[in-house]
Point group: C2
Chain length 347, copies 2
DNA sequence: TTGTATGCGTTATCAA
DNA sequence: TTGATAACGCATACAA
């Protein structure tokens, strides 16, 4: 008797091969295939196991993450929201996080807030609707409680570089205090004795606040060194140049400590307009290492952030929470590394 | 008679509010809610419509994209695969694509191939398993046919900046030929008459090949100007410096045309080691505008790519295909823009 | 015009 | 140990 007319192994609509196809080919039930996939440890008759296995291989079957997510409520997705992908720091962190996710079998969904840094709440909700299991946030946290709400819904949240007000969550960042102390200490040690800390307006961004506070603390501890702060905005380039002029006019050995690479760009621009030379007319250290730091002027001394580690650790924290770790919010602070170049040359 | 004992509006497990919750609250069936959501045009009794509407609002209901994707086979997800997120060009394109996606109600899933640019096939399959509706690729295409396979499965593919061999797909890029001609023409016009085109080894990357070919064509058309090509690798910085030395030793007015920003970085480094000055000892134009181009040496002349438009157009192409547009593969070439600075100053 | 029932691809609960 | 079967949240053919 001829075997029952086997339907051609017709790939399910959309070209997708489903667990049903595998089951049919292996001559078992869908449940068995599912068990084979998920709980291999559980005893399966070796013969059946191999049948299923080869059917899977023959068909090239891969489970549908969407269906799995729907059923399990878990998606193997991690959401990463950054205030601005244009920021090399954020991209570097992203890379670290991505690697760690891949290693753990997770996929990163990126959401970039763009220009205004607004819509954080929307971003969180969008990502949440895709059942992301957790969130890594490198954002302002201005959208009161949006992240907290996510956390309350049971989605672990890890903050990178920027704390959110009233938000109890794991936090991963460079040690801002240490970084500033290192940078300022280096300048003073090299003989620069009139320091100007240039930063963007704090505007509630914790890293900016912490760096500024650390600078003030440094100044208080080193009364022999002059120390002032200046807030630079994108629109007022002239004000920065003016500030630098006054700094130098004071007649000591002036140096700038830039709070991040955006500020570094502005300071370099101003210094070039003034026709000054770094390391001679003005000492300089900037937080954030960039690919161009060594190429500007005589080379810019920087504090490099361990961006890759930051991304990896943020992911690691998240994954631990996903695996049920239940401890109070942790803070992980990593040291920056001073990259000495000619802009801070010995006086 | 008391209404049947209403179960407390219990939010579905995981805290998720489902269409069933809305239906119950509005006192209608799930189907009605679904119709309200999808085909508002279809006649609904106004009274019911408002009841549903307010129930949705009251509950803060949002449909689950996963469930929708499962049911419809469409996910409102677009996959973007980049060879290297570290590349500012790719990030800029990403931003444009992201904006366009958001405008159209799509979400971008980013996949970064990282270091080796390997695993393109894996990336495509991973993304495909999440039911992305289409793919934007800024990759090597070395993984023979992986993209083509996706395309065959009915997922539209758009290539950005890099063509794939044997791949018939929409292609969006800067006009490489025009860009090189513009850059080289500018140098010659300014009196630089011994040109060196520096590029990474082509290695099958179409944009590199096209730029090199365009340079050779330019040289052929301008026999009075010297013109050579040099392939620079990351590991052999010395070779580049040596090449520059020879270029200058030839005694004419030497200039470099860098094929992208990575090469620009290397050339700047070499020139600084040699102690030369751009615009005096060596003319320079680099393809790719960067935030630091104006800050290096006397300022670097560049050809800016319309990255944002590239990303938007790539997305637009994809969305058109998704809406059923069926025309042969298109090529969209955008002009670069010359940003003149002192590195190419008049001789 | 609205409701019922079915299925998308999986997993989980029960029997067998 | 394995197999029916019922969800997961949604959309739709069909019935009312």
């Amino acid at each position: 008797m001829p075997s029952k007319p086997t339907l051609p192994v017709v790939t399910a609509y959309g070209g997708r091969i489903t667990i049903a196809d595998v089951a049919e080919k292996a001559g078992v039930s869908k449940a068995t295939v599912s068990r084979f996939l998920n709980r291999r440890d559980e005893l399966l008759t070796p013969e059946i196991a191999t049948r299923v296995e080869s059917a899977i291989a023959a068909l090239g079957y891969t489970p549908s993450p969407m269906a799995q997510a729907l059923k399990r409520g878990r998606s193997r997705l991690v959401g990463l929201i950054v205030a601005d992908v244009t920021n090399p720091f954020s991209v570097a962190v992203l890379r670290g996080a991505e690697k760690a996710c891949q290693d753990a079998g997770y996929l990163l969904m990126l959401f970039n807030l763009g220009e205004d840094g607004q819509h954080e709440r929307d971003a969180i909700e969008t990502l949440a609707s895709y059942q992301v299991e957790g969130l890594i946030l490198n954002t302002l946290g201005r959208d009161e409680g949006a992240a907290a709400a996510a956390a309350r819904r049971g989605r672990p949240v890890v903050l990178v570089d920027r704390r959110h007000a009233n938000m109890e969550a794991d936090f991963v960042s460079i040690d801002n205090q240490g970084a500033v102390r290192m940078a300022a200490g280096h300048l003073v040690e090299r003989g620069w004795d009139d320091l100007l800390f240039v930063t963007e307006p704090a505007a509630g961004v914790s890293s900016r606040e912490e760096r500024a506070a650390a600078f003030r603390a440094f100044v208080a501890a080193h009364p022999q060194a002059g120390g002032r702060c200046f807030e630079s905005t994108a629109t007022e380039a002239a004000a920065l140049a003016q500030e630098l002029r006054e700094l130098r006019a004071r007649g000591r050995r002036p140096a700038v400590l830039a709070s991040n690479s955006v500020i570094t760009l502005r300071v370099v621009d101003a210094v070039q307009r003034l026709g000054w030379t770094f390391g001679r007319d003005l000492g300089f250290v900037g937080i954030d290492e960039t690919e161009w730091a060594s190429l500007v002027g005589p080379g810019l001394t920087t504090v490099a952030q361990p961006t890759d580690a930051l991304g990896r650790l943020a992911t690691a924290c998240l994954l631990e929470r996903l695996q049920g770790l239940d401890v109070p919010p942790r803070q992980i602070l990593l040291s920056g590394q001073l990259v000495v170049r000619a802009s801070s040359a010995q006086q």
